[in-house]
Amino acid sequence: MLRSVGLESPEELFSTIPADILLKDLLAVPPALSEMELLARFESLAAQNSAAARPSFLGAGAYSHYSPTIVDALIQRSEFFTAYTPYQPEVSQGTLQAIFEFQTLVCQLTGMEVANASMYDGSTGLAEAVLMAERVTRRRKVLVSPALHPEYLRVAETYVEHAGVELQRGDFDEGAGLSSFDEAGVDSETAALVVQSPNFFGCVEEVERLAEVAHKAGALLVVCVTEAISLAMLKSPGACGADIVVAEGQSFGVPLSFGGPYVGLFATREKYARQIPGRLVGVAHDKEGRRGFVLTLATREQHIRREKATSNICTNEGLIALAATIYLETMGRRGLQEVAGQCAQKAAYAARRIGEIEGFSLPYSAPRFNEFVARAPLPAAGLLERIADEHNITGGLALSHYFPDRPNDLLVCVTETNRRSEIDALVAALRETRG
């Protein structure tokens, strides 16, 4: 091959690179491993992740749900996972139709009119929602619930740093476990109220009331959902009056995978369709009138609008959105309701049992879905460490991880994958370890 292009040595291929920056030696990367060696290497690394192998009550933005076998089997088809962004619609109809179904499902679940082809994840989706609220309202103040996932808030802070948007925190009702906003502070400068429901502490927010507060001041209501299974049971954000809804879609059959890749759901009202960030797929027809799908409304996007684009995002989370689509269609209307019902029932059972342990309390009175805060009679971090060591259970998240002023609180999440025997074992472990 080299000679066919008139060259004698591979080095000549790189003759346009100045000699003083051309590497003389091989990179300090170890020699190639065979398949067997590689698998052994990764298996031994995986074995050090002892937390992956034990019963767990961790939630807080990433949830353990059952994923039907066909979800992973279908996303491993070469046609899906080795395809590119569907720029050439004639040879990408599989991807495009799947995204159109995804957009429809997101609209149905969130109760909104328009959804995009997905964002990187829930946290970046939320940051983009804040920026979009500023574009729509031309206002710069955004009031954020203090019960928002702390990592989502950090991401939003980074994104708005140079956008001239000011994030202000609302209040928190320590009795109910709900966010509240001083209505006097929601004014003509306010672009949006941002609220997560169920909130970070597991409590279902009064979203309809918050929508009224926002709308009275001409502001938008942005609703964020980290546990998307809750959408199958709780009143949809759209029905509550939300203007932008973002959600983390990992709950829809996507593995925990140490935090990613996940998929962000992003939906809004029809009137804001042209302000939405990211990809959109729409219906189109060929000359013979056959229905197909194309990427559309691209004039919002960076490859055309450059610095005036609605976002710098140029892909979505295609394969993960596909996994979510397959999950939602396989579980279907009744399956999603049953999963949501089991989550709520099992969490209620766990909450009741933990609340009965002497010295433990459940500080918040608001209704919850599948997560709740339990207050222990001793620091939660040490308690959870002991339960992991002595009982081989990850009992939840010590809230001191994010909030040093909550040393004794733990956030417990229960899903359909937690058997009653695991819940009982957690309760027994907490009782035994409490003092």
Binding site: L13, T16, D20, L22, L26, P30, A32, L38, F42, L45, A46, N49, A52, G61, Y66, D72, Q76, F81, T82, A83, P86, Q88, P89, V91, Q93, Q103, L109, A115, Y120, E151, V155, Y159, M233, S236, P255, S257, P261, E270, K287, E288, R290, G292, A298, Q302, R306, A309, S311, N312, T315, L319, T330, M331, G332, R333, R334, G335, E338, Q345, P367, R420
Partner: protein
């Protein structure tokens, strides 16, 4: 010339899943609830619950779902089927072994908030990948948090902003505002610069396809230049020969150099951005390091920078200490978080697997093969297609439709006709500075035979453009649908399915 499509076959007419839904059909089974069931009203009052009974969400069986997705999947072109020569996208083979690695239960079932001491294997994966990427780029500071190229780019530009503010002061009069971007750049560059609060000024290219040094010097004469965002090799496939000088000019003007790493597949094992004078770069693990594109994500866009800029990287950083691997949240100069948790970890696993299965030798050879393949295409097609730049290309080569255009056949037509020959089209109409651009990147994943088949297809299309231009203008002829009316779709967008009679446009 409109040949009939294979449109009567059942697999070519799969409807939307919503149109297949049948009330009462299910495709799942859960274990029976094993705790005492409480009345729902006791858990969540009715006023907070859905009233629509999830109407519209599909009700289908398992086999319905499997057939549905299997059928529509066959409407996609994909790497496993053949050459996918999208310039700037690096569509290389995605190893099944890497997929297997990512699915090992000890990784796939690991919660991101698991205690650090019980997730040491995952932290080591991140740490080791950081080390390898530092070696490959010659840049010591690495964050794997960004989820995609554009995301890594935004991170890099925000780091420049934070560094300059710390150095010069963040007051309005002290702040530098201008980000220089060549006219050949990806659209994400100006979008990311804007998101980070910069004003964009364009640097023009020379007729030879290189950054114009005089223009750069002129723009750098002001004291307002924060930096330059440069792709190297650039988007016309040429190595920026004056890269050292370019970096010097920008540095002398007090700015920093950001390199878009989209084209790193031309450099790995042969040259390192850090040695060129670049301050910060993003990589695309889904391009250079073979993590699958997945029909448009998930990607992963690590941000790599000099020691000087390292304190500004997103937190947490994965570090090594006496007890093993740990998350470090402590750096006060950090730009903050750009994503929840630690980035697209599943992609980190695949990229590490790619590096380890290639080794130092294999990484260097892959680059060599990628460049050689592009060189062969450049040589073989120069007789048929106009090639606007004479310098030998790196891993991708740009042509135009200038000659075919005389017969009324344009780049879009050529791209669509390539589908009939069994190839995915190349990148078209990019970069914007080349009129009617066709950007071809074969990657190292094609052998000599397939390169030759591609060359012959391109030559045949060039002949058809002369002899039967209508044939090319109406392509593709072999797909289940023809060219779609994208303008009409954007005028009256239909972005979701609605039950009969409820269809509205957005």
């Amino acid at each position: 010339m409109n040949q009939p499509k294979a449109s009567t076959h059942i697999t070519q007419n799969e409807s939307l899943i919503f149109e297949r839904s049948q009330t009462g059909r299910t495709g799942y089974r859960l274990p029976a609830l094993d705790v005492d069931e409480a009345p729902l009203d006791q858990l969540v009052p009715a006023r907070l619950r859905r009233e629509d009974d999830l109407a519209g969400v599909p009700e289908v069986s398992e086999v319905d779902v499997v057939r549905h997705f299997t059928r529509i999947s066959t409407w996609n072109y994909h790497i496993d089927l053949g050459m996918y020569p999208l310039g700037s996208c690096t569509m290389k083979y995605n190893s099944r072994l890497n997929e297997r690695v990512a699915r090992i239960p000890g990784f796939a079932n690991l919660h991101p908030l698991a205690p650090e001491r019980d997730a040491q294997g995952a932290l080591q994966v991140i740490y080791e990948l950081q080390q390898h990427l530092a070696e490959i780029t010659g840049l010591a500071g690495i964050s794997l948090q960004p989820a995609a190229g554009a995301h890594g780019e935004m991170t890099g530009v925000m780091i420049i902003r934070a560094f300059l503010d710390a150095r010069d002061g963040a007051t309005e009069e002290k702040r530098r505002h201008v980000m220089l971007i060549p006219d050949s750049a990806h659209g994400t560059n100006p979008a990311s610069a804007h998101l980070s609060g910069f004003t964009v000024k364009t640097v023009r290219s020379t007729p030879e396809g290189q950054t114009d040094l005089d223009a750069l010097r002129e723009l750098c004469a002001s004291n307002d230049v924060a930096g330059l965002m440069l792709t190297n090799p650039n988007t016309v496939g040429l190595f920026e020969k004056n890269i050292r000088e370019i970096c010097r000019i920008v540095h002398d003007a007090g700015g920093l150099v950001y390199m878009d790493g989209a084209n790193m597949n031309a450099l790995v094992g042969w040259a390192r951005p850090g040695d060129m004078g670049v301050d910060v770069i993003h990589l695309n693990l889904h391009k250079t390091f073979s993590t699958p594109h997945g029909g448009g994500g998930p990607g992963s866009g690590p941000c790599c920078c000099t020691r000087e800029l390292e304190p500004y990287l997103p937190v947490p950083r994965v570090v090594r200490d006496d007890d093993g691997f740990a998350l470090d949240y402590g750096e006060p100069r950090s730009i903050g978080r750009v994503k929840a948790f630690f980035g697209n970890f599943g992609m980190h696993l695949r990229a590490l697997s790619y590096i380890l299965t290639h080794g130092a030798d294999g990484l260097r050879e892959a680059t060599e093969a990628a460049v050689l393949n592009a060189r062969v295409i450049a040589r073989e097609l120069t007789g048929e297609y106009d090639r606007p730049f004479n310098d030998p290309p790196m891993h991708e080569v740009v042509f135009t439709d200038k000659r075919q255009g005389r017969k009324g056949v344009n780049t879009l037509d050529i791209a669509k006709r390539l589908i009939d020959y069994g190839f995915h089209p190349m990148t078209i109409y990019f970069p914007l500075i080349v009129q009617g651009a066709m950007l071809i990147e074969p990657t190292e994943s094609v052998g000599r035979q397939e390169i030759q088949q591609f060359v012959e297809a391109m030559r045949a299309i060039s002949r058809e453009a002369e002899e039967t231009p209508e044939l090319v203008r109406n392509a593709p002829h072999t797909t289940r649908i023809g060219r779609l009316d994208e303008a009409a779709a954007a005028r009256k967008p239909v972005l979701r399915w609605q039950p009969e009679g409820k269809a509205t446009a957005a």
